[in-house]
């Protein structure tokens, strides 16, 4: 993983953790790491660019949605600490 990609990965995970909703948080973390794992062997630079771009869009989406999610946060679920 290049430095740039690693940084993006970390940002996505950090942002995912900001979800107040337990289910969204868990899914987001799971989905982000799965996405990076699945594509770790992609070498084609065109495809890499595409992946990178979509990950950046997702990062922006996460920034907006985690904020909205936190504004309407509910009580925690019974499975949460």
């Amino acid at each position: 993983m290049s430095n740039k990609t690693l940084q993006l990965y970390r940002q996505l995970i950090r942002e995912s953790k900001k979800f107040k909703s337990y289910n969204f948080k868990e899914y987001s973390i799971r989905r982000v790491s799965l996405g990076f794992r699945e594509n770790k062997n992609v070498k084609n630079s065109e495809e890499l660019d595409k992946l990178y771009k979509s990950a950046e869009e997702n990062l922006q989406m996460l920034k907006r949605q985690t904020l909205i999610n936190s504004m309407y946060a509910h009580n925690k679920l019974v499975v949460e600490q």
Binding site: Y27, M61, L62, Q65, N75, K76, L77, V78
Partner: protein, 463 residues
């Protein structure tokens, strides 16, 4: 808020004795509930009101959600696609004279394409409706009424959703004949019975793709083939199927297909109906007016909902493999956990031909509703949400040939994209504890433990 409470206070004055502006601070809750207003107004003194407002309840933890067949949470990605339409792009998608309209129209048409793609259809064949109930009504009543002069017969199954059964019942009062095909013990229909039920009079066959209560998948391809050979239209209620199992309307020979937005992590209040264009399926519209949606469903499109629905379809299509794997993984875990820890359970519906996000289990000798109360930290239901207010056992389970007591003791667990491993393990633990506890209280369970066959017992009361 102020205005509305003043209005209420005034209008209630005739039967509330001491209501003045000071001691009758109407909070949000009582504004919505006129019925409880009287109580509130007579009891409320300034002190009590102040106390009520300041004392906060201790943070109670919320139950986990395992009722994905009833509805699903909105995916944040869907909400993200919808918000621009709730803020800036508010144009009427049918306005052809200005930029606001054009923008809205473009967004809606893009959504239509996303919906079409998930079922392998052409965007022109998708009609936006208010949900799967409307789609089912439009499909069945629409086709039946349009072809009523020549064909007056409808074929459907006994395990359909209420909105299909009720549409059919409605048509019966209009003089149509309806055949309700029974299902086998595993919930699937017998194709031979279906074939025999179709007559030259039949205009439409309606069979749901994935059952909402037991999750079984009907053999769409085979039914489609029969319908094509017999020359009748094939409608399917795919509210529980779209985005969860692969669908191709051409491969399956489907002529009409109903979709719901809120079952696929989209918004409530929107759905779609696929209507085949070649060969053309003609419908008598239920809602007439401005002629939107090819004249089949007039009324301004809820552009925001349509866009959310489209986005939900797109995510479902792209994430189908991930979701399927995850849901199957959790299903296996839940099933194994229940089977290992709770004796005497029965899984309802076929074990293989099913969507694995649905697990319907009967816990013998336990009353379903009391189990639901006992495991109130898990939000699930004993059947469909539409009938959850009645204590009648599910008609779907009864039609599988289940005894009344088994139908009464069933619980439906819905697993979805956002369900976690911890939630499944939590559910297994809770079930293990409470099923045993409830059975220990049951005299029937005691008798079974002593080796008495319950069927041989002669009960005093006839019923």
């Amino acid at each position: 808020m102020y205005n509305s409470s003043r209005y209420l206070v005034k209008s209630m004055r005739s039967f509330v004795s001491h209501s003045s502006k000071n001691n009758c601070i109407v909070n949000n809750r009582s504004v919505n509930n006129i019925g409880s207003f009287r109580n509130f107004a007579t009891l409320a003194t300034p002190n009590v009101t102040a106390k009520e407002e300041t004392v906060e309840k201790p943070q109670e933890k919320k139950p986990i959600y395992l009722d994905m067949q009833a509805t699903t949470p909105i995916d944040p990605r869907v909400l993200d696609a919808m918000l621009p339409l709730y803020t800036e792009s508010y144009g009427n998608p049918h306005s052809k004279t200005h930029d606001y309209g054009w923008t809205s129209n473009e967004l809606v048409e893009a959504a239509r394409e996303q919906v079409a793609k998930v079922i392998g259809a052409d965007p022109k064949e998708i009609i936006f409706t208010s949900g799967a109930t409307e789609s089912n009504n439009l499909a069945i009543k629409g086709v039946a009424r349009f072809y009523r002069d020549k064909k007056k017969h409808i074929v459907t199954t006994v395990t359909e959703h209420k909105c299909v059964l009720d549409s059919c019942r409605h048509l019966e009062t209009e003089g149509f004949k309806v055949t309700y095909i029974p299902v086998k013990e595993n919930g699937l229909i017998d194709l031979k019975v279906l074939e025999d039920a179709i007559t030259p009079e039949t205009s439409i066959v309606s069979v749901m793709m994935v059952n909402n209560e037991i999750g079984i998948i009907q053999p769409m391809k085979e039914i489609g083939k029969i319908c094509k050979a017999k020359g009748v239209f094939f409608h399917t209620d795919a509210a529980q199927a779209v985005g969860k199992i692969p669908i191709d309307v051409n491969e399956m020979n489907i002529d009409l297909l109903s979709i719901s937005g809120h079952k696929i992590y989209g918004p409530k209040g929107v759905g779609g109906l696929y209507v085949r264009r070649r060969p053309r399926v003609r419908l008598d519209p239920i809602i007439t007016g401005g002629g939107q949606e090819r004249g089949l469903r007039s009324g301004t499109l809820p552009s925001t909902l349509a866009v959310g629905f489209g986005k939900a379809c797109e995510i479902a299509r792209l994430e189908m493999d991930h979701d399927k794997k995850w849901v199957k993984f959790l299903y296996d875990r839940l099933l194994k956990g229940i089977q290992e820890n709770v004796p005497q359970v029965k899984i309802n519906g076929d074990l293989d031909a099913r969507y694995f996000g649905n697990l319907n289990v009967s816990f013998s000798f336990v009353e379903g509703e009391s189990l639901l109360m006992a495991i109130k930290d898990v939000a699930c239901s004993s059947g469909s949400a539409c009938t959850s207010s009645s204590l009648e056992p599910s008609y779907v389970l009864r039609s599988l040939g289940l005894e009344e007591d088994m139908a009464h003791s069933s619980i439906r667990f819905g697993i979805g994209r956002f369900t976690t491993i911890d939630e499944i393990d939590f559910t297994i633990n809770l079930l293990t504890k409470h099923v045993q506890r409830l059975r220990d209280m049951s005299p029937l369970w005691e008798m079974v433990q002593e080796g008495i066959d319950l069927k041989t017992i002669e009960w005093d009361q006839e019923h």
